[in-house]
């Protein structure tokens, strides 16, 4: 099978089967336009992330994609998809976010959705202070602003 050359942000060249690489709509478009002779630079994708992507695209070549129902029924991905996919996104936060950005850039929808579903599962059923702590998010509301926005959303809450 023919291969295409992808260049990581570190400058490393990785050869990937066309069928696997074409799971990326971006890459497929480039191949359709310019063929496989030219190297395709991916300045925003590190080597380790690219490897994860290759693993994913290889897997979905032969397996049905993860179809995760919206919204999540629980915060455990094992309840909504196969063990392989659930385990695939069991990653450090930083790697997970890099994967999201890369999947978005490369336009690999099933991977993007899987990774986002994972983030959603980490948000779900956590209290707001816990979410902020877990994701290292600063609360940039002043107390007045936060009170104001809570007031605006009172309509959604149980009132008695």
């Amino acid at each position: 099978m023919s291969k295409v050359k992808l260049v990581t942000s570190e400058g490393e060249i990785v050869e990937v089967d066309i069928e696997v690489a074409s799971k990326s709509v971006l890459i497929k478009g480039m191949i359709d336009d310019s063929g496989v002779e030219e190297e395709i630079p991916l300045p925003n994708v590190k080597r380790n992330i690219l490897q994860k992507i290759i693993d994913f695209c290889t897997y979905i070549k032969d397996n049905s994609p993860p179809e995760i129902e919206k919204p999540l029924k629980s915060n455990n991905l094992n309840d909504v998809t196969t063990p392989w996919y659930a385990e695939f996104v069991n990653l450090d936060q930083e790697v997970l976010f890099e994967l999201i950005l890369a999947a978005n850039y490369l336009d690999i929808k099933p991977l993007l959705e899987l990774a986002c579903a994972k983030v959603a599962s980490l948000i779900k059923n956590r209290s707001i202070p816990e979410i902020r702590k877990f994701f290292n998010i600063e609360n940039d509301f002043t107390p007045e602003e936060e009170a104001q926005i809570m007031e605006e959303n009172k309509w959604a809450e149980e009132s008695f």
Binding site: P71, L72, F97, L101, I123, F135, D140, F141, N153
Partner: protein, 442 residues
């Protein structure tokens, strides 16, 4: 696309933008939203605002079965956020009103009706053709928790398996009319019965227990009173129906208001349909009079499913009324009250537009000669009558004899002021547009 230096650690805040949020947020539920995802920080808050309107569309589709209903739809130029918000607010309004009806009814009743309110987080329903009906059933809980309609039929007398909320009771002669707010299972059973007998699909929401009477929600506007109007029909003559209200929300709000202002008589330890006098409100079917310290209240109630209208089939129209008479010592009476006893009754019954009444004189009331004393008790009884036209009235007096005091042995007449034999305010009778003569045989 961000280019980051090798040293900075990538966080969720760095990663997300509006586009990625549009992939992420649909995995979260309304409950996640309510618990505060919208206020994690300003960025998350901005994701949920107007720019991410399709998220609200997704939430709407998760919360409700359809995107639009004959009685509820998104307005031109309206955002999904606004549509979702006002739709959910309707759910909350139904919940507040229904919870209030249950609480106030139980407060005035010896028999408590429990288990009729669903949890806030328990909101799934079946599909219904009216938004208000679907939302009401998000709130109304069936204590019988019937999962399968077949279970109801297997028991024989299905009334025993079904549980419905009694809104009020009307008792007179040998009749006890309980008006029920129907559970989803009961609605299906009645719908099936009516479909079998009449060949039409209706959505009954109220029903008089043990009688061929229902109040249906007009989801197709067949009766031309507006989508969702409450149409009362049944009994021996379906050629006319009574329009009880604009829609379910209005009906429940009205019932709530009446409970709140103590408009339903409840001294018999249950909510009855007969009205109490209400400060500042004129109720034409109700009269109050005080004579010599004796207060007599009279209230008439039209019973649609006992009435007949079709002169092509019956010899005479009959508008059927039950009325309740309440006799007591006036609460405002000062000083001593000498015990007295009711001896005779005198009634004048006027048909609308006639000046010559039917006169009835008799001893006692329903065979009784009640003693009236200043002990806080109310003597009440019910009777019934019917007329060939609406808008008649009854009035009269009861004669009392003093049993004690200086005037012992003397008699006096205590007035019963005129009270109208007409439909409750806000209701009306109309020809039934889907009536066919064979329905008289039902």
């Amino acid at each position: 696309m961000e280019t980051l230096s090798q040293n900075s650690k990538l966080t969720l805040n760095d990663t997300l933008d509006h586009n990625l949020a549009s992939v992420l947020l649909p995995y979260l539920t309304l409950n996640d939203y309510i618990s505060g995802v919208y206020r994690i920080n300003k960025m998350f808050s901005s994701f949920y605002k107007k720019g991410a309107d399709f998220i609200w569309k997704t939430l709407f589709e998760l919360e409700f079965h359809d995107k639009e209903y004959p009685d509820h739809k998104i307005e031109e130029g309206e955002s999904w956020h606004s549509y979702f918000k006002r739709s959910f607010e309707m759910y909350k309004k139904f919940r507040r009103i229904w919870a209030g009806i249950i609480t106030m009814s139980n407060r005035k009743s010896v028999e408590s009706q429990d288990g009729y309110l669903r949890d806030f987080n328990d909101r799934t329903t079946e599909k219904y053709p009216l938004f208000q009906l679907e939302v009401f059933y998000k709130v109304f809980r069936d204590p019988a928790q019937i999962k399968d309609i077949e279970d109801v039929y297997s028991g024989g007398n299905f009334y025993e398996s079904l549980q419905n909320f009694v809104l009020h009771t009307t008792e007179f002669y040998e009749y006890e009319l309980e008006v029920l707010m129907l559970s989803p299972a009961s609605l299906l059973i009645l719908q099936n019965i009516i479909n079998v007998h009449l060949g039409i699909l209706v959505y009954p929401i109220l029903h008089t227990k043990n009688y061929k009477h229902s109040v249906i929600l007009d989801y197709q506007n067949l009766f031309n009173q507006g989508v969702g109007a409450l149409i009362s029909w049944g009994g021996p003559d379906r050629s006319q129906v009574q329009v009880l209200g604009l829609d379910l929300m209005n009906f429940l709000e009205d019932h709530y208001d009446k409970l709140e202002r103590n408009q339903f008589f409840s001294a018999n330890s249950r909510i009855e349909s007969f009205f109490n006098p209400v400060q500042g409100r004129e109720i034409r079917q109700l009269s109050v009079a005080v004579t010599n310290g004796i207060r007599i209240e009279a209230c008439a109630k039209y019973i649609h499913h006992f009435s007949i209208f079709d002169l092509q089939y019956h010899s005479q129209r009959r508008y059927y009324f039950t009325y309740q008479i309440r006799v007591m010592v006036d609460p405002d009476h000062e000083g001593e009250f000498d015990d007295c006893q009711l001896t005779t009754r005198h009634w004048e019954i006027y048909t609308a537009n006639s000046s010559v009444p039917e006169v009835v004189d008799g001893a006692g009331v329903i065979g009784l000669f009640p003693h009236i004393r200043k002990n806080g008790q109310i003597f009440s009884y019910q009777s019934a009558t019917y007329q060939t036209e609406l808008g008649g009235r009854m009035q009269g007096w009861f004669e009392f004899k003093y049993l004690k005091g200086e005037k012992k042995g003397e008699t006096f007449k205590a007035t019963i002021e005129p009270f109208e034999l007409s439909l409750d305010e806000g209701t009306k009778l109309i020809q039934n547009p889907i009536f066919e003569p064979w329905m008289h045989q039902l």
